[in-house]
Symmetry: C2
DNA sequence: CTCTGGCTATAACGATCGTCATAGTCTAGC
DNA sequence: GCTAGACTATGACGATCGTTATAGCCAGAG
C-alpha cells in the first residue's frame, strides 16, 4: 500500500498508519490508540513523537499522504497528462481495491469533517494545500502539452474533484464502476484539451 | 392509534437534524445526543422513534437527504440538463455557503467511513442508492435531450462524482472556487454532449 | 563503571459515546 | 373521569475517547 509502508522507523510508521486509518474511519473516528496499535507502536510513543497530540498527528498524516501522491503524480506527469492521470487513478484504484473498498483518500476524509470553534485547524490547511498542489501539477502539465492556458485550471479542478468523489462512490457501492467511468471521461477530456488543433 | 400518526414533526426533525449533523461531523462523530439536542428533542425520543439505534437513524437520514436531493433534481431537470445541473450545484452551494463551509453532503460523509466487520450496513446501502438515483435522473434527461445514449452514464457519473468532490474541496479551502470551477466545466460538457451535431 | 536521555510501559483522569431501564407525563378514546 | 398507550425525563451501564503522569528500560557518552 502506497500510503502505509510498514518497515520504516517508528515515527514514520505512525504517520503512515494514521493516514491509512484516517482514510478508512474518518478523522474523528480514527483514535490514537488504534493508530498506535496499527503501527505496532506503544501509545506513549505517539505522544512522545507528536507532543501536540492528535491535531499534530493528523496534520502530518495529511501532509504525508498529500506529498506522497504529489510525488507520484509529478513523476508520472513527465510522460504527459494522460499518463499522469492514469497513474493518479491507478494509485487510488489500488488503495480502494487492496483494502476491499475500506480505505480511501485521507485528504478527503479530513476535508469533510467540521472544524472546531471558528478557527481552521492545521490538518485542514494541509488538506487544502494537498488538493491545490495536485491541481497545480496537473495545470502545469496540461499547459505544457498544449491545453488552453485559461482552461487548464478548470480541467485540473474537475479531475481532482471527480476522482475524489468517485473514490467515495466506489467505496459506497463496493464497485469500481464509478471510478472507472470517471477515468474514461477524464481521459477523453484531457485528450480533447491537449490534442485539439484550433 | 398504532401506526398512522407518528405525531409531531418531532421524528422528522430528528431525521433532518441527523442528516445535517452527519454532513458536518461525519457519521461516527455525529452523536445521538447531539442530534437530539440539535433537533430540540429529548434523547429518549430518539430511541423511541428509532429503536434500532444509530444505524437506523443514520440510514433514514441518508435516505431523507438522498430523496430530497433527487426530488429537486427531478423537478429541475424538466427544464433540461443544464437547468438541472444548475439546481444541483446551487443546492449544494447554498448548503456550503449558508453553513460557512461547515456542512456538506451527508451521503458522501457516510460513504467515506469504513463499515464494521464484513457486512455492508444499511446506511451505506442507502448512500449507494442515493448516488445511483441521482445518476439515473441525469442519464435520463441527458438522453432525452440528445446526448449519446452510451456516453450519458459516464457523463452522469462524472457530474455526481465531481460535484461531491468539489463540495469537500470547497469546505477544506473555505472557498467556493473548486465548486464554481467544476460548475463551469460541467456546464460546458453538458452543452457539448446534448447540443453537438454530428 | 556511572550517568544521561530517548523511548516504552502502565495506569489513571474526566469526558463522552451508544444503549438501555424505569418511572413519569400527557392525551385520545371510551 | 378513566385508562391505555404514545411520548418524555432521568439516570445509569460499560466502553472508549484524548491526554497526562510517572516510573522503568536501555543504548551510548564520559
Amino acid at each position: 500500500m502506497v500510503l502505509a509502508k510498514s518497515s520504516a522507523p517508528s515515527r514514520d510508521r505512525i504517520v503512515a498508519g494514521a493516514a491509512d486509518l484516517i482514510s478508512r474511519r474518518g478523522l474523528n473516528a480514527a483514535s490514537i490508540r488504534e493508530v498506535a496499535k496499527h503501527a505496532k507502536a506503544p501509545l506513549g510513543s505517539t505522544y512522545h513523537y507528536f507532543p501536540e497530540g492528535k491535531q499534530q498527528l493528523a496534520t502530518e498524516a495529511v501532509r504525508y499522504a498529500g506529498t506522497a501522491v504529489a510525488g507520484i503524480l509529478r513523476q508520472e506527469l513527465h510522460a504527459g497528462p494522460v499518463a499522469g492521470l492514469r497513474a493518479f487513478l491507478g494509485l487510488w484504484r489500488g488503495i480502494v481495491v487492496d483494502s476491499d473498498f475500506r480505505a480511501g483518500c485521507p485528504v478527503l476524509a479530513v476535508s469533510v469533517e467540521e472544524p472546531p470553534a471558528d478557527e481552521t485547524p492545521p490538518a485542514l490547511v494541509a488538506a487544502t494545500k494537498a488538493f491545490q498542489e495536485w491541481e497545480r501539477l496537473l495545470v502545469e502539465t496540461l499547459r505544457a502539452h498544449g491545453a488552453d492556458a485559461e482552461q487548464a485550471p478548470g480541467l485540473a479542478a474537475l479531475i481532482v474533484a471527480s476522482v475524489e468523489g468517485a473514490i467515495a462512490m466506489s467505496r459506497a457501492e463496493r464497485s469500481m464502476r464509478p471510478l472507472d467511468q470517471v477515468a474514461g471521461q477524464l481521459e477523453a477530456l484531457i485528450v480533447g484539451a491537449v490534442g485539439r488543433p484550433d
